[in-house]
């Protein structure tokens, strides 16, 4: 079992293509082996308020977490209708993850939908805590970021961390 500790970040953007740029930079860091992520997704809120997952690069790390399957950790947090327009990142490695074997009823899509107004975008990423500064610097155009630690490897811990990160997106 990997000893890597993970954080989850939810980042909100006023301008979708700047979110895309940050997302691409994040993926490139992983591809260049400067960063290990357990999952990352780019989410967009269209002008009518519909939430879609635009791209994902789940489990891009070299080491990865030892368990998981399906579409991967972050994508797995969303329900199928949201994935209709999703593009799987080219750098996707093994679609496995420490948490993803558990069914996580995260409520993430609803919370993200509430936090992201129409015409905006968001990034959610689960990454090696040791690289927190790198991730923070990479998500440079986000106007709001909320980070929570995942204390352990189970669905319960992930859910708690997501709840904490989501709560951090509220307010002014």
């Amino acid at each position: 079992m990997s000893d890597t500790e993970f954080d989850v970040v939810i980042a909100a953007y006023l301008i979708p293509d700047l979110a895309q740029e940050d997302f691409d930079r994040l993926v490139k860091l992983v591809a260049d082996k400067h960063l290990e992520v357990e999952g990352v997704a780019l989410v967009a809120e269209d002008a009518e308020g519909n939430t879609t997952v635009k791209e994902t690069g789940d489990h891009l790390g070299r080491k990865g977490l030892e368990i998981g399957g399906g579409l991967g950790l972050v994508v797995g947090l969303f329900s199928p209708p949201l994935l209709a327009s999703m593009v799987i990142g080219g750098a996707v490695g093994g679609l496995a993850g420490k948490f993803a074997k558990h069914k996580v009823e995260s409520g993430l899509e609803e919370k993200l939908g509430a936090a992201l107004p129409p015409g905006s975008a968001g990034i959610i990423a689960i990454y090696d805590r040791a690289k927190g500064e790198t991730v923070d610097a990479t998500l440079a155009s986000a106007v709001r970021k909320s980070v929570a630690q995942i204390d352990g490897g189970g669905a319960k811990q992930l859910k708690a961390a997501l709840a904490e990160a989501q709560a951090g997106m509220g307010g002014g």
């Binding site: 006023l14 301008i15 106007v143 709001r144 002014g172």
Partner: protein
């Protein structure tokens, strides 16, 4: 003897009875002049005065700006552009000068109606010896109307108890429809009609209400009504838009037209505008573009996120402005359809004080944050923009947006500074177009005589052929100090008639004479106003003549680019002295009288600390709402809850961007306090309200009597505490510049979005009485301190108008 009546004494005397009145009709002969009305001079034209709000010389395409204004273009092509026309750098002062033909201080409007000061030049009380020219027209046989923004009625008089002398009807308008406030949300405007607030109106034909459209409909309806009633009677219409003042509210299709058109940024935009201005000829070929002040960032220094956000701010402003042009166009088309455009003198001024710098360098999602002295960083502004709907919502009712200071500066191309800064042309020179086919020679031409907003009234009277009255209602009149420029309509080379003019707004001063302009700018940033910053201008500290000066010779220096003060110290001294002479003559002294609350000079302390609303009182104007700021207060209501319960609003003030609401929802008593859209504080009762007669109370116990004090909220039902909470921040100056207080409902934008779907969320029980007590637990010292803060607050709220 001439049949022409004596028009110098108003009202015009009714002619003596020409008939015979015997004991009975036997042998009696009527004198029909007894039922006649005053006739204007033969051939009197209609008069349309259009005033756009908070815009700059370099905004409309007609003057080289980036905003498409086809109807303004048309009027200029069929009329004349005036490129040396001047205003006062502030809203109410310009309007007072426009309508009276006199200097603003001379008619009590050195400041703003939110603060009636104790000096003649700053009372905000139109004196009876300064009859406005619309009243003169009315007394000479015109039908008159004012539609749109007003902002000339003292705030304390804006209620059912009046008095009404200073409402639009009192200024000489037969009819008024619009808003009295300094500014208004364009989707939820609290409308006044004649002498009554009629509140937020419904849209037409199933469409949502939008003020620019509604005011135009009202104007057209009024014209149709007048013409239907009297086929020949001339009319005078003052059409004054809320646009382009904040909040910048416009339908998305208008802002979308400008998508990408401001991506080059404000520095480049100024250069582009300047080039177009030269091509059009509204700026001389030898003029220089003045540089950016260091208070505003270079566009190239911004990150991409900021650039995109800023660009969106200007896209909305541009769409909002073009929409105003569109609606003026609708009005002009209606006049044309009536067959009267050729007989109508059109005077169209684009901006009353230069473009507004008050959005702060970041621009703001809610102008109320600036008004309340709440500084927000770029990052915070973006987060709050995200919170209230993102960039898609910039321009909608969810925000109260104002663009960045630097966009205003770009809108004032080629000048320095802008609104509030009466010392420089950015705040004092605005576009003027005059169209009057009967007199104009050389349509499409340019006029460069020095003209001033006080000239408009005398010019209109001159063209119509009505003398300035010596006496009105038995009161001898101050002469109009504006000078007619009617000669310039026919003669491009007409001699300059207005050769000397002072400027003063909140301490920023200028003196113009025969081409020379002395700028005396206070070293104060226009978008910051708080007691600490004003200390250096306190009585005994500030020496006005020690302020830095700049001297310009405008015939050679259109844009004020070359300061000649060091080369001409004698001219500096001459103009400084002349300013003080003018200040004495026109009641400008004492300088900063409009800021007197900041220096401890306060109006008499009001005695009313308890306000009781019986029944269904609605649309209480902001200045009349109990002042719940900066201290403890209580709201108590007597209700009747029917069997089965009730829901709805007991009392609410303003909106989610600043306001409070006491309401019943899901059976529980709830209180929401919206801190300027930044924070929301909510408290609710643990249990459902009982039925029958119920007394409820919201008690706010402030930590101290101090600006923005935190404090604790307790909710009580029949005297028993049922809920509580803490408010870490409260609003120090004011929730809203325009939205009102309502009992039994929450009109317009609601305070708590949780009941937005049910708006106005009318209370389904009965609200018998609501009582505000704004002075519980105060000692005399606290009371005076709060009075001082309240007086300052009134000043601040009006400053951005």
């Amino acid at each position: 003897m001439s049949d022409e009546p004596d028009r110098t004494k108003l009202p015009i005397q009714r002619p003596p009875f020409s008939g015979v009145a015997n004991q009975t009709l036997d042998g009696s002969r009527p004198g029909w002049e007894q039922i006649g009305h005053v006739e204007p001079p033969e051939g009197s034209p209609n008069v349309l005065v259009v005033l756009i709000d908070d815009a700059g010389f370099g905004n409309p395409s007609t003057f080289g700006g980036p905003i498409d204004t086809p109807h303004y273009d048309r009027m200029a092509e069929e009329g004349l552009r005036y490129n040396r026309f001047h205003v006062t750098a502030m809203c109410s002062p310009t309007r007072a000068s426009l309508l009276t033909g006199r200097n603003h201080h001379a008619v009590g409007m050195g400041g703003i109606p939110e603060f009636s000061g104790g000096f003649p030049g700053y009372s905000a009380m139109l004196p009876r010896d300064a009859a406005p020219f619309p009243k003169v027209l009315k007394e000479n046989g015109y039908s008159t109307a004012a539609i749109g923004k007003w902002h000339l009625t003292p705030e304390g008089e804006q209620g059912p108890a009046g008095p009404f002398d200073h409402w639009p009807n009192g200024w000489g308008f037969d009819y008024y429809w619009g808003f009295l406030a300094p500014e208004a949300g364009q989707f939820d405007t609290m409308v006044a009609e004649n002498q009554k607030f009629i509140g937020v109106q419904e849209g037409k034909d199933g469409k949502p209400f939008y003020f620019p459209e509604a005011m135009t409909d009202q104007a057209i309806d009024w014209l149709h009504g007048v013409r239907g009633h009297k086929s020949q009677k001339p009319w005078m219409l003052y059409y004054s838009t809320g646009c382009s003042h904040a909040p910048h509210h416009v339908w998305k299709e208008w802002s979308e037209k400008y998508k990408g058109r401001f991506d080059q940024g404000w520095d480049k935009l100024r250069e582009e505008t300047f080039e177009r201005q030269k091509k059009l000829g509204v700026v001389p070929a030898d003029a220089e573009l003045t540089p950016r002040d260091a208070l505003m960032p270079a566009w190239d220094s911004l990150d991409e996120n900021s650039k995109r956000v800023f660009a969106r701010q200007m896209e909305v402003y541009a769409g909002y402005s073009e929409n105003a042009d569109h609606h003026v166009g609708r009005l002009l088309n209606a006049i044309e359809e009536m067959g009267e455009l050729q007989d109508t003198l059109v005077v169209w001024i684009w901006g009353d004080n230069g473009a507004s710098l008050e959005g702060t360098p970041t621009g703001t999602f809610n102008e109320g944050t600036m008004v309340n002295g709440l500084p927000l960083t770029d990052e915070e502004q973006m987060q709050l923009t995200l919170k209230w709907g993102g960039l898609e919502a910039w321009g909608t009712e969810m925000m109260y947006p104002h663009y960045s200071t630097a966009w205003a500066w770009a809108g004032n191309t080629p000048f320095q500074w802008g609104k509030q800064v009466g010392s420089h042309l950015g705040g004092t020179r605005n576009p003027l177009v005059v169209r009057f086919p009967r007199d104009v020679k050389g349509a499409g031409g340019l006029r460069s005589q020095f003209t001033h907003v006080s000239d408009v009234g005398p010019t209109i009277l001159d063209i119509v052929g009505i003398p300035q009255p010596r006496s009105v209602d038995g009161v001898d009149q101050q002469p109009m100090t504006g000078v007619t420029f009617a000669d310039s309509l026919t003669d491009a080379n007409a001699p300059e008639a207005h050769t000397q003019q002072y400027f003063e707004n909140f301490g920023n001063r200028a003196m113009y004479k025969d081409g020379w302009w002395l700028s005396m700018r206070m070293p104060r940033i226009p978008w910051r106003l708080d007691p600490e910053l004003l200390k250096k201008f306190a009585p005994g500290v500030w020496k006005p003549d020690e302020d830095p000066v700049e001297l310009y010779y405008l015939p050679d220096d259109f844009s004020q680019a070359n300061d000649l003060s060091e080369d001409h110290p004698e001219k500096v001294k001459e103009l400084q002295d002349l300013f003080w002479e003018e200040a004495e003559k026109y009641k400008v002294k004492p300088l900063l009288a409009g800021f007197s609350p900041f220096f401890g000079i306060l109006p008499p302390l009001g005695a009313q600390t308890v306000t009781t609303y019986y029944g269904d009182v609605q649309n209480v104007a902001p200045g009349a709402v109990p002042r719940v700021y900066n201290h403890s207060y209580t709201i108590t209501a007597d209700l009747h809850i029917p069997d089965g319960g009730a829901e709805g609003v007991i009392v609410a003030d303003a909106s989610h961007l600043g306001g409070f609401s006491l309401f019943v929802q899901d059976g529980k008593l709830k209180h929401t306090y919206a801190f300027l859209g930044v924070f929301e504080y909510r408290q609710e009762s643990k249990e459902s309200l009982p039925t029958g007669d119920v007394n409820v109370q919201m008690v706010f116990r402030a930590d101290e009597a101090a600006p923005a004090t935190p404090g604790d909220v307790t909710l009580l039902v029949n005297g028993e505490p049922v809920g509580s909470g803490r408010m870490d921040h409260t609003v120090p100056f004011g929730f809203s510049g325009y939205a009102g207080l309502d009992v039994g409902r929450d009109n317009g934008l609601v305070v708590d979005r949780s009941y937005a779907e049910k708006a106005p969320f009318v209370f389904t029980g009965t609200v018998k009485k609501v009582v505000f007590d704004v002075a519980p637990h105060l000692d005399d010292g606290d009371e005076r301190a709060l009075h001082e803060q309240a007086s300052q607050a009134h000043t601040v709220r009006g400053m951005d108008a």
